[in-house]
Amino acid sequence: MRPAEDTAADTAAAGAGQAVSTTRAGASDERAARARPPVLVAGLVVTIALLALVAMASVALGARSVSFSTVIDAFLAPNGSNDHTVIRELRVPRTLLGLGVGATLGLAGALMQSLTRNPLADPGLLGVNEGAALGVTLALGVFGLSDPTVYIWFAFGGAALASAIVYALASANRSGSSPVRLALAGVAFGMVCTAVASAILRMDSQTFDRMRFWLAGSLAGQTADTLVRLAPFMVAGLVLGLMLARPLNTLALGDDAGKALGVAVNRTRILTGVAVTLLCGAATAAAGPLWFVGLIVPHAVRALVGPDQRWVLPYSALAAPVLLLGADVAGRLIARPGEVQVGIVWAIVGAPIFILLARRKRVAAL
């Protein structure tokens, strides 16, 4: 609109944000200093224990009431009864899917927030998941490719394209990309992708029927076979992402300081982009475009463990599936005998938290 004033306003906001973030960073450094590594390791163990607990709940609870002893029998002595089939062929794959998708989205969000130094970065909010979803819709609806190892490449393509376009959109004005610009560009591009995807689906009612729950974000409806085919991509993304903690820590000091300290700035950026693409593409191919998982978990994690990415990244990857599976279990229980898709539960819980974050005096830069 009015670039000059816009620039001025943005710079002013950024300046104030920096001032705030310096004090914030100081505070969280203190907190991190207090939270010694042994405490943080213990925290990781607690998180893993929680994860195991939620995973058990996810196997045991659902629209169909199954007694706990039956659940144990289903693993130890499967007898092919309906209850056992439900547990072994529906709930276990679904739980594993939730673990994988939660871990990938949590890590992807943490990586994006660190890379863009934008506290509002989230794979769903910035349109990356929607881009991946459009890729999957094209593959399934237009080209009729139903093999997950094939259509996941469409998801990667969509995710990569979306990241590039949204980032370019947000920094199209010379003032660079502020958190608000990036968020708006992401939402706008995401809505274009969603509109195109639903136009494609409207032409083909069979595909529409198959995909409408996936489009709302759902952990149900994927077979164990799909999961096995998608898992290697998730693991690759997780490993690559976790390896980037150290260079990202250094880059947080700024590009110049990072260079001076021996970090290959561009290589780190590109590798982070590749990791984000792998993580978001695989998660979306598996569970549809999910919002806010990657936004809220890293925020909460940073408040607990401080700004060190070596802790933020693994904590995010472990805490996100706890919350995602928790939301999925809640979605199965609140609307029995039907269920609410996990994407809907997350948006309804996550949006108010997002609004609370946005209401803070300044959206503190990272």
Partner: protein, 344 residues
Amino acid sequence: MRDAPAGGSLNVRLGPWSVRLAPRALLVSLLLLLAGLLVTVAALSTGEFTVPVPDIIGALFGQGTPVAELIVGKLRAPRVVTGLLVGAAFGMGGAIFQSLTRNPLGSPDFIGFTAGASTGGIIAVVAGGSALTIAGGALAGCVVTAVLVYALAYRGGVQGYRLVLVGIGANALLLAVNSYILTRANINDAATAGAWLTGSLSGRGWEHARPVALALLVLLPLCAYISRPMRMIEMGDDAAKAMGVRVEAVRAAAIAAGVLLTGVATAAAGPVIFVAMAAPQLARRLTRSPGVTLASSALMGAVLLTAADLAAQRLLAPTQLPVGVLTAAIGGTYLVLLLRKDRH
């Protein structure tokens, strides 16, 4: 056009009164009016049953053959007029929010208002409401959302960026509520609601056009009155306050006007997205004005929506696309255009 400087204006004085005229903006407005007229004539005349252009006037005023009167007067004219009015309302609503948020993407489509109208609309659809109830539901949904977003974004004043962020949160929440309603509704209601959600002008009659016309009549003077102070607020709250603008009052009035425009437009045609985003910026590029302008945005919105609707009817004839599909395509193209470095 060389003699009109970029965004240039002339001050015309007559005694104590003065009017600021921007020749280029006036010229662009005239051209947009002409384009709107051409699209209207094309929409009235072409289709499965062609009515020759000279017969249109006769058919409109009851002088033509009965068939032409039915097709032009009863079927095509209400649809075109609804399209023009809805497009104008979306264009102006979009311009208001882009000015308030100082961002070319700060359109009601993305900050929850259109989504709120959709929620109201599909609740009415699922409850089995009539066309009037659905329209009322959409308007109510839009207004309730706006009140909530405004209240949540209020911290001793509503800064543009907080409005955007709170709106984006509300948008996500409402989209989730919408898909929840769609997955819970029975299949017939879900299909009807899904069709309404795409936004369409098909089957629109005078009863759809009238409320939008009324809203435009009431809100146009208000918008004209606040357009100058809004321009000042774009320069920052402090600068505007220093020039004697009552910032919060103007902003509240602007939000109210923008929400009502978006609400009645959505009530008439469903949530047609991207018109509110693209129209003000396209108009601004044509007029080369430094900020978005309300009048040219409204005209551009009217032209865009009717042209998109015409294309939606004729491109794949006899298959009729909903206009929302076309405007989504326009939105995508426009975003790519926006990628080019903004030199203005």
